[in-house]
Subunit: 191 residues, 2 copies
DNA sequence: TCATTGATACACCGATCTGTGTAATTAGTA
DNA sequence: TACTAATTACACAGATCGGTGTATCAATGA
């Protein structure tokens, strides 16, 4: 149990702990008392930094909206590498699915803001795929990007239930088949 | 708001209402008081039929473990028809993702029984795919069945967030591409 | 007619939830 | 030293949660 250093700014400490608990156990399953107790601060202090639990939940999800890797490796390698990274995530004990999908499934219609963040996250990844497919000169980069994103989401959902890391490999195999069918070649970056 | 007829057996009425509420709003978000009030019965009556909320939740999920359609249509048509049915589900206002994935995402480690039911559900659909792929004479029916199941789960997760029914079409396109690459032919049932 | 069964209303339990009010305490700084 | 700002402990509010106890009432069938 790695606790955030007491030296860090309070807001950051709260966010890190909220992330660990909300993601690991679920948003509704974790109360603000639990978050505060886990850091060793009073509930009052937590509420001095976030006006409500809803605000804390949104901040937790916003923190997970990180920019995607901007590598200079070949596009095909980057695309397939996504599934390898996914497989490595499956191997960690902390992995518990997609934080955004889980939040939407848990909160449903109750929070439009949560859903907007989830859409933003999903669309960012889809566009990341599409940018790489563009460089590969694929015929329908938009459609294929959606399909690749579908495979990622499917692998995550399937793993969440089955806990079988092979789901990442199955998704990668499917991605390779789709890419091959679309005419992706090995080193197509510049020609 | 269609309420189950008061003529139906009490247990069935409870289950139908629990299904509608648990699936529509989430398990943790709906209390037993709400379920009883929605039917117009006392909480006591509900507890006379189910010993606990956990038992009610399990019964709700078990009721969703229905056998998959056993059609005599061509295998390829049945497989692709799955994605058409999915697309039609997306069009309904009630659709809120996969009840089993949502339950696991919501309850997480807290209920092994829920996860077991979810695994059973997912595996049944995967085996249904595999049986059809067997009849198509596909080289690796097991692997392709997993990939098709991944596409279904991915489309559901993506739709849950984006609310875009086109996710079903994207999954169907990907499925067709995978099937074509695997050598599935139009009318391969008997030769 | 009488006994049984199931449903009813309703109060209640202890626990937990988000959120607030308040007064004391700490630490840094002018 | 004196002021300020953050954090503390702690009680409390009002709601909701899952679950129970109990006494009454209505329908059924022997």
């Amino acid at each position: 149990m790695k606790l955030p250093s007491a030296k860090l700014p309070m807001k950051q400490r709260i966010l890190e702990t909220a992330d660990r608990l909300f993601y690991g156990r679920g948003i509704r399953a974790v109360g603000v008392d639990t978050v505060a107790a886990e850091i060793g601060i009073s509930k009052r202090t937590l509420y001095n930094h976030f006006p409500s639990k809803d605000a804390l939940v949104l901040a937790y999800l916003e923190r997970r909206l990180q920019p995607l890797p901007d590598s200079d490796r070949p596009p095909l390698e980057q695309i397939l590498g996504t599934f390898d990274r996914l497989g490595r995530s499956f191997g960690t004990a902390e992995f518990r699915g997609c934080a955004f999908v889980n939040a939407v499934a848990e909160l449903g219609e109750e929070s439009a803001a949560v859903r907007d963040l989830a859409i933003e996250f999903k669309e960012a990844r889809r566009l990341w795929f599409r940018g790489l497919l563009d460089r590969l000169g694929i015929a329908d980069p938009d459609g294929l990007a959606t399909q690749l994103a579908l495979l990622v989401d499917g692998a995550i959902a399937a793993f969440l239930v089955r806990r079988d890391p092979a789901m990442a490999l199955a998704a990668k195999d499917a991605a390779m088949a789709l890419l091959a069918q679309a005419g992706a070649r090995q080193a197509p970056a510049d020609r």
